[in-house]
């Protein structure tokens, strides 16, 4: 079974279009490493957000730690603003089971109590295992459960989607 993958740059443009009317100077944005942080970096710049961008590395909040151990680290989480009372946009590249988003929300609450959290994803591939849904979705794709859908970024900063069929 083959899945036609959309152009990630077009999907990204769609995200910007949907977000433009929603953001304010007070909006805080947080990207989940690594793919979500790439998307958030672009959005933060293109939407002209003034609150500095935050990034989350949810290794310390994963629910598979007891079976898989600590995942190889990328960069530490960094939330360079006060979370308390702020409206937050949480950004990820691919929404799948919902477990990453749950971990990210748990971590965010250890920084403080936000006013609200909205979920922004480039691609929703279905397959949810938790009651989580995104408010802003660039594209919806039906991807077989075992396949791996990845976002990549080239040297020029261009985003692209890649699918590896599952074994």
């Amino acid at each position: 079974m083959s899945v036609a993958l959309p152009d990630a740059e077009r999907v990204y443009a769609e995200l910007v279009r949907q977000l433009e009317p929603l953001v304010t100077p007070e909006t805080g944005m947080v990207g989940i490493q690594t793919g979500g942080a790439w998307v958030a970096e672009r959005l933060h710049r293109d939407l002209g957000l003034v609150v500095p961008l935050g990034t989350l590395n949810i290794s310390f909040y994963r629910d598979d730690y007891a079976s898989s151990g600590l995942h190889a680290n990328v960069r530490p989480s960094q939330i360079p603003f006060d979370v308390n009372g702020r409206r937050l946009l949480l950004v990820d590249d691919v929404l799948f089971t919902g477990r990453t988003v749950r971990g990210a929300m748990n971590e965010l609450f250890d920084y403080g109590r936000p006013e609200s959290i909205g979920l922004v994803v480039l691609v929703d591939r279905g397959g949810r295992q938790l009651p989580i849904c995104a408010q802003i979705v660039g594209a919806t794709l039906a991807v077989p459960a075992g396949a791996k859908l990845d976002l990549r970024r080239d040297g020029a900063g261009r985003l692209s989607l890649h699918l590896e069929p599952g074994g």
Partner: protein, 318 residues
């Protein structure tokens, strides 16, 4: 050759007993993970849920308030339950053997043992004995090893100096009795430090110390010339009563770190000490409180490094 007791069959950390023989990738992984935990300790909630539901037993057969406390804080910041046992005043004094004590604690569903013992090899003995789902961290065994101290020293050096492959590091004082020095020297050489120096009187340097990859100096001014990092070791009071040293005053004159001796090192050299310090014996107060001292940051980094070790040990099906 026997399998490295510290690693499981997949080459992952199973126990932390000594830095000697630990692959470079694992040391770097511990330091990288610690860097992520430094940020956690600066947040509103200074805890992560990794070890929720796990029990960490601090087994201190030898007193050490600071090391025990930092392990306790580290475990609590990982959401573990911590049980402190001061064994010197407990069952051992009633004649129970070390391994019987361990079996009893394992029956209480301990997940991790942090062991401090006056006998070299005590943590190894326990690691060899326990079931695969138990993990052992050596918190100092005799004169042998104190790996988390060596790792936190390495972390501190990397924090201030970044690249080990360009550094000159001097370790000064009682290296003979120091498990801290031994662990740090192994960490530094494994991480590719080209110039590690051991400075001290002949009587306080172990014979054959050069085989660890260090250069030996008996003259402190000569040894400190142009170094980037100075690690002062504690001169244990009980040693001064023995035949190895004339007196504390004499030791300070030759091997105490003063501003005047520090001036021989690079101008941006950092001064470290594993604590507790003997001011006026191995280090002058002016230096200990001076701008080049990073002795208190070492303590802070120590918590993050111990969190890193525990979190790497505690996850995954062993």
């Amino acid at each position: 050759m026997a399998r490295n007791l510290q690693l499981n069959e997949k080459g992952e950390l199973q126990h932390l007993l000594t830095i000697e023989g630990l692959p470079r990738e694992i040391i770097v992984r511990i330091l990288d993970t610690a860097a992520s935990f430094v940020g956690v300790t600066e947040r509103e909630v200074k805890k992560v849920p990794l070890l929720r539901g796990k029990s960490v037993f601090n087994l201190f057969f030898e007193a050490s308030t600071r090391t025990r406390t930092t392990f306790e804080i580290a475990a609590k910041r990982l959401s573990a339950d911590v049980i402190n046992l001061n064994i010197s005043t407990s069952s051992q004094s009633k004649g129970e053997t070390l391994l019987d004590t361990i079996d009893n604690l394992a029956a209480m569903h301990a997940d991790m043992f942090v062991v401090r013992h006056a006998a070299s090899g005590a943590a190894h003995l326990i690691a060899r004995h326990v079931a695969p789902h138990h993990h052992v961290i050596n918190a100092g065994d005799g004169r042998h090893a104190h790996p988390t101290q060596g790792l936190l020293d390495a972390y501190t050096i990397r924090h201030y100096k970044q690249d080990f492959t360009r550094l000159s590091v001097a370790v000064v004082g009682d290296i003979l009795h120091s498990r801290v020095a031994r662990s740090l020297i192994h960490a530094l050489t494994t991480l590719g430090t080209p110039d590690v120096r051991a400075i001290g009187p002949q009587t306080l340097l172990p014979t054959g110390v050069e085989s660890l990859g260090v250069r030996v100096f008996h003259d402190m001014r000569e040894g400190l010339r142009d170094v980037d990092v100075i690690v002062m070791l504690r001169l244990q009071n009980e040693r001064m009563k023995g035949p190895l040293l004339p007196s504390a005053q004499e030791f300070f004159k030759c091997y105490g770190l003063t501003a005047e001796k520090l001036a021989v090192a690079k101008p941006d050299a950092i001064v470290m000490h594993p604590g507790p310090m003997n001011r006026g014996v191995e280090i002058d107060s002016m230096v200990a409180d001076g701008r080049q001292a990073v002795i208190l940051p070492q303590v802070t980094f120590g918590i993050a490094v111990r969190m890193a070790v525990m979190s790497l040990l505690g996850g995954g099906a062993a």
